[in-house]
Amino acid sequence: MYDFEVARPSTIAEAASALSAEGAQVLGGGHTLIPTLKNRLARPSVLVSVSRIDEMRGVRVENEKCLCVGGAATHAEVASSAEESFPALAWLAGNIGDPAVRNRGTVGGSLANNDPSACYPAAALAVGATIETNNREIAADDFFRGMFETELKEGEIITKVRFPIPDAGNYQKFEQPASRFALVGVFLAQFGSEVRIGVTGASESGVFRWADAEAALSADFSTEAANGLPAAPGAMINDLHGSGEYRAHLMKVLTARAVAAAS
């Protein structure tokens, strides 16, 4: 790993100022970034650790309608704190990797990284989360910009994420057995009769909302409607873990399972 300087701020303002240095980068839980550094695929000048910033920690319910998660909150914190208020998101967080990964990995890191097989992006899109940074708010629909690309500007920090709590929600993850990431993951959220679906691990353009499924299930919330869905639009990821056709099929199966589980 190349050498770097370290900044250990205790406030968002200090972190933002440390990030204004040329080549500075945020360090969250390090579970993506440290392997990248080991492989010398990144060469930051300064790593700015956000894990000791109190204002970026914690998980709270706001007005019974919204789960507010600090950008540096760990998967383990979300899994234990959201169990009652938002069980589908708690389940998602509690099934990322293994307990040691969940004790370090953070929500902000997962969203900023936007791995095409990551779980949180599917949830953020499905519930219409708002991603708060040190200088603006970004709607999930505008945030994800294809694999590993987001709307974040250089030096911008995800400080908080607000997840609206749906009336019913469910996450179905088909695990890739070696990495335990989602081979395909489907997050279903229902607000009244409106259904929203976020799909990860399937499309070559990264996480996306499946509009055909949303329309069909908002009109008829049944597994039959899910099974009758047209083929997914666009190019599917096609790799040694599964063909594009296989992934398109999984999307339908997982959506039907999510409907059954949320009914």
Partner: protein, 159 residues
């Protein structure tokens, strides 16, 4: 260089570490606590699991300075003066190790599990050990050993 002060297995230590020094390297190279093993160095295998602030973490995927001010417990901290800790003893009694490479991480994960859930089912044990790989035992005896610790602790508490 980063200044750090940590409590490792009950001993307070302070000094300077390079920013890029991993916690696993700090424990093994600087403190000579070589019980913490490095298997994959990519957070897959769990051989390097230690506790930081009471939580199981993979020490190969954390910098030493990130543990500043925290309590760190490694496998060396699991034994009493000259006898094995109860989890270590149960691993021996139940033949839960063969080559022993995975064992330090297994014991540290088992300890974290039993702190969170003193009476885990076999399925809960297997689920918790998802990030600890063993290439020898087939896991059966590891699960048995952890169950036996839960039972021993329960009967000791009842007595």
């Amino acid at each position: 260089m980063e200044f750090v002060e940590l409590i490792v297995n009950g001993r307070t230590l302070s000094g300077e570490v390079e920013g890029r020094k991993l916690l696993s390297e700090f424990l093994r190279e600087d403190l000579r606590c070589t019980g913490t093993h490095i298997g994959c160095d990519t957070s897959q295998c769990g051989a390097c699991v230690v506790h930081v602030g009471g939580k199981a973490v993979k020490s190969c995927t954390m910098f030493a300075w990130e543990a500043d001010g925290m309590e760190v417990v490694t496998i060396e901290g699991m034994a009493d003066e000259d006898s094995l800790g109860d989890i270590q003893q149960a691993f021996q009694d139940n033949h839960a190790l063969q080559c022993g490479f995975c064992t330090p991480g297994m014991v540290m994960s088992a300890a974290a599990l039993l702190d969170e859930n003193p009476d885990p089912s076999d399925a809960e044990i297997r689920d918790y050990l998802e990030g600890n790989l063993c290439r020898c035992t087939g896991y059966q005896n590891i699960v048995k050993a952890i169950r036996s610790v839960a039972e021993q602790r329960e009967s000791a508490a009842a007595a």
